[in-house]
Symmetry: C2
Subunit: 133 residues, 2 copies
DNA sequence: ATATTAGTTGCAAATGATTTGCATTTAAAA
DNA sequence: TTTTAAATGCAAATCATTTGCAACTAATAT
């Protein structure tokens, strides 16, 4: 809740607005998308970028890359792993209920000694519809 | 072997040189890296980019994204899937001998109807060394 | 071999997301 | 209320990548 105080960041208008937008988002957003959602139009795009990067450093948000190589940001809600199956042809995606790689990753940790925390896997394939074409 | 003829692409000097460099590479390379490996220094960087994109379209190369959001290219050798375990802290990576997700993916195909062909997974975690720190 | 032509290339300029320098402002500590 | 380190707005810089266009060349037909 108190993301800013917890991270020892000053509570400013841009930061509060950006947090609010991220809280309302169901999907990760680009900096531009967040920028255009801002009610206070005097906030600068570079402030949005800077804020999002700051948020990432203190783990308030998670930064990923979308299909167009843009950074996309989403609130880093602990324990909210998503596993998405993405069609490489039509880009349609399906949310999986649970991690299909859970057991496999445990095996892998034993074998390699790595502590795996890739729990937002995007799995690529061709969806049933596109297979027909 | 005869990548160019097979793909109905003209056999030009830039293409042959770039192919040669890719054949000698053990890791995926950026366009710039390939460019600086060229013996014929009269070849233009944009030709390298264009060539690599053409190669990708005809599936001669595989295009991926590295940590700095640059495109990296590698020869698309059939049946040479790689599974790399990457440390998110030090970026050290370990090649896995075989796909840890093979069975899990088969399950997933049955469940979803998707035809999965993500067989160059990068798995992220923290390596043993970085866990100590 | 030679001419033809569609596909390639070099060059320079454009693009587009993201970053940065710097002067100004502001939240929070004293 | 004063002080000060941190945050912001603005404009310009970055940097990988793409693109328009004129010149060139490999492959095909003559």
């Amino acid at each position: 809740m108190d993301y800013l105080k917890d991270a020892h960041l000053k509570s400013t208008k841009p930061r509060k607005e950006i947090l609010h937008i991220l809280e309302g988002a169901t999907l990760p957003l680009t900096a531009e998308e967040i920028f255009s959602c801002l009610k206070d139009k005097s906030i600068n795009l570079s402030t949005v970028y800077r804020t999002l990067n700051t948020f990432e450093e203190v783990h308030i948000v998670k930064k990923e890359i979308n299909h167009s190589k843009e950074n996309i940001f989403s609130l880093n809600k602990e324990g909210e792993d998503s596993h998405i199956l993405v069609c490489v042809k039509c880009h349609k995606s399906v949310k999986l209920d649970d991690c299909p790689y859970h057991e496999a990753n445990e095996e892998l940790e034993k074998k390699t000694g790595y502590h795996i925390h890739d729990h937002n896997t995007e799995i690529y394939g061709v969806c049933p519809d596109c297979q027909k074409k």
